[in-house]
């Protein structure tokens, strides 16, 4: 068993590396002066890029299957497993869309998004965990995999939306639009900040325990990052480690609020430093630095793919996120809909993309506005995947 699990982890690691290398090859393809989908050496680079991506996908699929065999249940039952699977569906959706449109610049942006998500996921507990009775249903896999696939396809609209905005928005002087775009890019860097800081202190085996009260009960919690924000009215138990600088405010409730808040503060600090360094190196906004690379990309094609990805992803998401979810809830709890936060956010996502599709029916919502909407939709998806689990936590026990 142990062997299979470690083989499985190696495959995930392999996939990660392959995606990373593939990204560089896709990077080559856009440095061409003439065209972004051309032949010649750039065409070779694109071929290598997509081949590596497919190889990475197969490696990740191997991870998924072997972990399934080892644990006896589909590995979509905790945050780590679920998020890595989401990374995988983004790659799958990318491969699919790539073969329709042959647009190499997609790889340069879609793969990093998948990489960030997989790296982010790996910061959470990766042990194989047992399934509580409510999750022991085939509908769990059917539901989770379908939603995730839908979200992966919708994520492609985010990718093309961002490329559209970077290319289209005037960067000659700071304005509201390029500021907002920069904020989107900055928030991606925050995820990298989280990964970097967590990895750093994990390799140092940092640990500090606190005792704190929540309601009438006393809990202990283990911090793996030095406590900038200690638990509210917490007492540091470990000796010889840093005292917290301040306390987590009392209105932040929920399980382990202090630890999560501390992690958030660290991610912001680290992410901001990384962002600052990047600015120093580039000497301009990230958006402004990337813009010239996109010279050969056609805006109307990007807009078309944004819309197409939503058109393809919406039915899949509806099926997985609402219909299969309802069937499972009916089997497990005897009620197919219960307004728990996870369900409500799936509904919000659905409403949002329905609004997107209806807006596309009228003139004036194509182009930049669509691109912004695609970014907004992805923000909602990420909110549902991360914030709802960590903050609003409903019945869905990924935590």
């Amino acid at each position: 068993m142990g062997n299979l699990i470690s083989f499985s982890s190696t495959m995930l690691y392999t996939a990660f590396i392959l995606y990373l290398i593939a990204t560089f090859f896709f990077g080559f393809t856009i440095r061409d002066k003439h065209t972004s989908t051309s032949k010649g050496s750039k065409g070779v680079a694109a071929k290598i890029g997509i081949s590596l991506t497919i190889a990475g996908f197969i490696a990740q699929l191997t991870y998924f299957i072997t972990r399934w065999i080892a644990s006896g249940h589909a590995p979509v039952s905790n945050l780590f497993e679920f998020m890595t699977f989401f990374g995988m569906t983004i790659v799958l959706a990318f491969i699919f869309i790539y073969f329709i449109y042959k647009l190499t610049v997609l790889g340069l942006f879609a793969l990093p998004v998948a990489l960030i998500i997989i790296a982010y996921a790996s910061m959470f507990p990766t042990e194989v965990s047992p399934l509580v009775p409510s999750l022991q249903s085939h509908w769990l896999y059917i539901h989770v995999t379908t939603v995730s696939l839908g979200q992966g396809i919708l994520a492609i609209s985010f990718v093309t939306g961002v490329i559209y905005l970077i290319k289209h928005i005037d960067q000659s002087q700071l304005n509201w639009r390029n500021f907002s775009l920069e904020a989107v890019l900055y928030s991606l860097v925050l995820f990298i900040g989280f990964v970097v800081i967590t990895t750093t202190f994990n390799t140092m085996d940092y640990s500090a325990s606190f005792e704190y009260k929540n309601g009438s009960k006393t809990y202990t919690t283990e911090y793996n990052l030095p406590a900038l924000a200690g638990p509210n009215e917490g007492i540091l138990l470990t000796e010889g480690v840093m005292e917290p600088w301040f306390e987590t405010p009392a209105w932040m409730h929920g399980a382990d609020a202090g630890k999560k808040f501390n992690t958030l503060v660290w991610s912001f600090i680290t992410g901001t430093i990384i962002y600052g360094l990047v600015l120093l190196i580039l000497r301009k906004r990230i958006g402004a630095a990337i813009q010239p690379l996109l010279k050969n990309v056609k805006l109307d094609l990007l807009d078309e793919i944004t819309y197409r990805a939503v058109a393809i992803g919406f039915p899949v998401f509806t099926l997985g996120g609402l219909i299969f979810a309802a069937i499972w809830a009916q089997e497990a709890w005897g009620r197919f809909w219960g307004w728990d936060p996870k369900e409500v956010w799936a509904l919000i996502t659905w409403f949002f993309y329905a609004a997107f599709l209806h807006l596309r029916l009228s003139r004036g919502w194509h182009g930049e506005k669509s691109a912004w909407l695609a970014v907004g939709g992805f923000a909602i998806i990420m909110f549902n995947l991360i914030a709802v689990n960590l903050i609003l936590a409903g019945l869905h026990s990924y935590a």
Binding site: G72, P133, S216, D303, G334, D340, V344, A355
Partner: protein, 573 residues
């Protein structure tokens, strides 16, 4: 009705934007679809007359126009979206955690979230999804859907049915994809037509004018999916009637047989045994995770149950005759089904108290023989117990599920989960009573580090009794009442559901899915060819996926002189 006659001779109904027959823009109506000042024609409804855009006089017209506007529809959807998000800021009432200080919403929101929580509660957001205004909002979306679909479906249907291959040149040149080639041979033209045919276009030719069309059925996708949505909304309406939906909850102790609520006392259920299985902490696969979590993780809860039905041929007055209907294991994700009902494993209580035995001793002589002993059936306590040696015990107060808050002792529920008593003890031949406070075994157990939710207390009844609270309120008592032994049992929490609305939801969902797939995964593509003196005009339209149609046109004009269509799209910005 003012009809409009086009140059081509066709008579169009009032409000038509593009002639139904030849597609020529009708002067004076171009504002309706926003075609004025634009090079391209709005093709969404093929320029047909729609009621909402045509009549705007009576109240009915105004309401109709209002609800058939996509803008209004989108606004309604966006408002519902924002409202839903608001509903997740704090937990809804049914999700107030069990271990909250108080589950009374009036207390909970303020206590847990301060002033914001208080406001949230007072605005009624703790029950947002069943509030009247949320329901009205959903109903408005439904109305909008119906009107919107009707407004467009009929005219669109007519327009697509009536199409003629021959179209006005201004109709072609104002399509997004258009080209004009000066010189084209008949052979080349035939090649294009054949190639389109090979790509599964249906060809309609008339006097050299060609209309090649495919995927028209995908235009009906939105209407199909909207019908699905309406069925779902109607199903939700049905579900709010007891005829279609019952939802009851029942606690059954092990060995107990109870009437199933919501079945008009027709059915009974017997709990033959409740099983709680935990994951083995030595299981190789989960060892690491279990160690990290530090708590026990259940792998299964299950009730072995038998369902009985009262037989029909009961002689009135005689004992009810029970007939076995079914026997099954009720587990999470595995409900028991019988005759339209489903029973779900919804909860359990490991340590509900059954019986408690108390002893009375002199405080002076604590280690001596007890003077009297009595047993209370906690599920049905008597008011008074007459004991040996002339003692009498009166139950002054009884808290089945005891807890203490700032205002004093309370009971959480009426189930004997933590029974606690205030006794009045009358010694032999005395009218004066002593007051004793005895119970709260659960706190005693937790103080010992026992997790009472995961561990069965039954074998420990005698030991735990010694640690139970035992208070002498006045400090003047001569006698002490203490717990000698207690007997726990396991109780299973079952939900009983009957839901005849499910098939309606299922059908609605299925139709919705068919509709979206039909509308999203296929596209309605049309190519027009209009002969000119020596050459031809080529124009094309699709409702989505322009990339796809361009590829098909490219294929069809391969090896001919015909010019590839220009994409005249205007990205409005």
């Amino acid at each position: 009705m003012k009809n409009i006659k086009c140059d081509c001779g066709h008579v169009n109904p009032e409000g038509t934007v593009l002639c139904e027959s030849c597609g020529k823009p009708i002067e004076g109506n171009q504002h309706i679809d926003g075609n004025d000042n634009k090079r391209l024609l709005n093709m969404r409804y093929d320029g047909t007359a729609r009621r909402s855009q045509t009549y705007n006089k009576s109240i009915v017209d105004k309401i109709w126009s209002f609800f058939s506007s996509v803008k209004v529809g989108v606004w309604l959807i966006v408002i519902a979206l924002v409202a839903s998000a608001v509903g997740t800021i704090f937990p809804q009432e049914q999700y107030i955690p069990i271990d909250a200080v108080s589950r009374d919403p009036a207390v909970y929101y303020q206590d847990a979230y301060g002033i914001l929580g208080q406001i949230y509660y007072q605005l009624g957001f703790h029950n947002l999804f069943s509030s009247w205004w949320f329901l009205i909002l959903i109903a408005l979306i439904g109305v909008s859907l119906v009107i919107c679909s009707l407004d467009r479906f009929v005219p669109l249907y007519k327009a697509l049915k009536k199409q003629k291959p021959q179209r006005h040149h201004s109709f072609l040149s104002r399509q997004r994809l258009f080209s004009e080639t000066e010189e084209v041979t008949e052979e080349e033209k035939q090649k294009v037509i054949n190639s389109l045919k090979a790509q599964r276009y249906k060809i309609n030719e008339e006097n050299g004018h060609v209309l090649a069309e495919k995927g028209r059925f995908s235009r009906w996708g939105p209407y199909v999916n909207h019908i699905g949505l309406i069925i779902i909304l109607l199903a939700a309406l049905l579900r709010s009637t007891p005829l279609f939906y019952t939802n009851e909850y029942l606690w059954v102790r092990e060995g107990e047989q109870k009437v199933i609520p919501g079945t008009k006392s027709e059915y009974f259920i017997e709990n033959k045994g409740f099983i709680l299985d935990l994951y083995d902490e030595n299981d190789d696969r989960f060892k690491a995770a279990l160690e990290k979590q530090g708590t026990m993780v259940p792998s299964n809860f299950q009730t072995n149950a038998i369902v009985y039905k009262q037989s029909e041929d009961v002689v009135t007055g005689a004992e009810a005759q029970l007939e076995k209907v079914t026997e099954d294991e009720i587990r999470m994700n595995h409900p028991l089904e019988f005759e339209g009902y489903k029973i779900y494993q919804s909860g359990y209580q490991l340590n509900e108290v059954n019986q408690m035995t108390f002893t009375i001793q002199e405080i002076e002589n604590e280690d001596g023989e007890p003077l009297a002993e009595f047993t209370i059936d906690v599920t049905d306590p008597k008011a008074e117990y007459e004991l040996d040696n002339g003692f009498k015990v009166e139950i002054n107060e009884f808290f089945p599920d005891f807890y203490l808050d700032s205002t004093g002792p309370k009971t959480e529920t009426q189930f004997p989960r933590n029974p606690t008593f205030i006794f009045k003890l009358y010694p032999p031949n005395s009218d004066e009573s002593e007051t004793s406070f005895v119970g709260d075994v659960i706190s005693a157990a937790e103080a010992l580090g026992i997790n009472t939710e995961a561990v069965e207390l039954n074998p420990m009844g005698e030991v735990l009794g010694q640690f139970a609270t035992n208070l002498d309120a006045t400090g003047e008592n001569e006698y002490k009442i203490s717990i000698q032994d207690m007997d726990f049992h396991r109780v299973s929490g079952l939900s009983i559901r009957k839901d005849h609305s499910l098939p309606f939801f299922g059908v609605g969902a299925l139709i919705f899915m068919i509709g979206v797939v039909q509308g999203m995964y296929w596209q309605h593509r049309r190519v027009w060819i209009r002969p000119t003196e020596k050459g031809l005009m080529l124009a094309a339209h699709t409702n989505k996926n322009w990339f796809g149609i361009k590829k098909e046109i490219e294929n069809s004009i391969e090896n001919t002189n015909i010019k590839m269509v220009d994409d005249q799209q205007e990205l409005d910005e």
